[in-house]
Symmetry: C2
Subunit: 232 residues, 2 copies
DNA sequence: GGGGGAACTTTGGTATACAGTCTGCCGACG
DNA sequence: CGTCGGCAGACTGTATACCAAAGTTCCCCC
């Protein structure tokens, strides 16, 4: 595994697209279709159908579906197959309970680490978000926001936390896609605030800011969702 | 039938017929072998080998291994297969960071629910643990403790939290199997304390008690592990 | 009109085959 | 003596074909 080269040159992109396994690609593809609403809740996902459509065999599909179930996007019924899951109000509340714990933890750990290395990547995401917001690029803003939270996670330096948060973030995106688009400016202000708290290197402060922000969006978000989602 | 492998760990009975799905059984089986140390870190798990040993085909094995990877028991290397993961001190610390968040959340939610229905199941687990401890039945005590935490989770009434905690609990068990056996009486006292706090119906109290307990065991546990595990 | 059952559909699981790729070894060449 | 190149083996990744069990649908017969 040692890199014998004295100077470690930039080897460029890590062969991204071609290297990813088929099940992984299938999984990502279907997940996006679910999140953006193309596949509506209740839709049956049949292995042979998917395999044919995606031009692969059943095996990779069979491996992708359980992953999506573990992430909560799909519900598998024994001997019936997989159905696109239905988000309920109860689940949205459960999701917020988890976020109130884990995103606060992420902010706390990130602040702890930020003392050693100032979070330049965070500022960069913030800047990208600002640019996208001014350009009215909703998609770009969402990407920048996702990158921002991803950077916090990366900064927290806890791979286990990252792996747990991955499906959570997917479900949060799914939820937000149901909502009318939110105020870009308010999001930027919030992220700026959180970024500052983390950069301060004070874990308790960062945690408090993160907590306050999630509680605040929880109230407004669930208020809207109450009119959109089934109770349970 | 011919097993030429030089080192051949005992894989036990060949998967009795139950109603649970084959991948699930395989997953549980291998997980137990890893947790109890039969399969040592670094061991290669080859699909064909496992399939032959467990008397199933490759497909269910292929579906079980990614689950074990997601749970952190196994590391999959592309085109090489799966290797039993190595617990590191870093990972143990990461695990405790997560537990400090999520088990506290579980206790808080359980206390919130306990107001409506008194946690009889918790008391019953406690009693079972006490009986096992007096009988000197270490295995029974561990089962009772696991059941106790399972009941808290069930009480918290958040399926998402339960699904997240499942792999965490597995890893905690793995960790504890590396340690010299702990004082049964101290465990019982701790659980009694937590049970009381939850039964009080005061979420903040339950959370505080849970937090204090985890921090306390964190210190002692990591202290021992520092002498047993590789740094990272 | 309702009940029973046959045909169809779909997953769960098995067996087999083949290509790509990683490893390890061995031998040749500088 | 060391290093490079190639060869062989091993193992996964994926495809294909097949069978059994179970659920669904729908039609026929009472």
């Amino acid at each position: 595994m040692d890199n014998k080269s004295v100077t470690a040159p930039d080897f460029g992109a890590p062969l991204g697209a071609t290297n990813r396994s088929l099940p992984e690609q299938i999984c990502d593809h279907i997940r996006e279709l679910i999140i953006d609403g193309t596949l509506e809740p209740g839709t049956w996902l049949r292995e042979r159908d998917l395999a044919q459509r995606l031009n692969v065999s059943r095996i990779p599909v069979r491996e992708a579906l359980p992953v999506l179930e573990a992430e909560g996007f799909v519900k598998m019924v024994p001997r019936r197959g997989a159905m696109v899951a239905t988000l309920t109000l109860r689940e949205a509340e459960n999701l917020y309970d988890i976020r109130e714990s884990l995103e606060v933890l992420a902010a706390r750990l990130a602040a702890r680490q930020a003392g050693h290395s100032p979070p330049a990547a965070l500022l960069e995401c913030l800047e990208r978000g600002r640019a996208a917001a001014e350009a009215g690029d909703a998609h770009g803003l969402e990407a920048a926001n996702a990158a921002f939270h991803g950077e916090i996670l990366k900064l927290s330096d806890n791979p286990l936390l990252q792996s747990i948060m991955k499906p959570i973030k997917g479900r949060v995106r799914w939820l937000f896609h149901l909502l009318p688009s939110r105020d870009p400016h308010a999001q930027l202000v919030k992220h700026q605030e959180l970024c500052d708290a983390i950069a301060s290197g004070n874990p308790d402060l960062a945690a408090a800011v993160a907590y306050a922000q999630i509680v605040r969006t929880r109230e407004s978000t669930l208020g809207v969702l109450r009119t959109l989602l089934p109770e349970s």
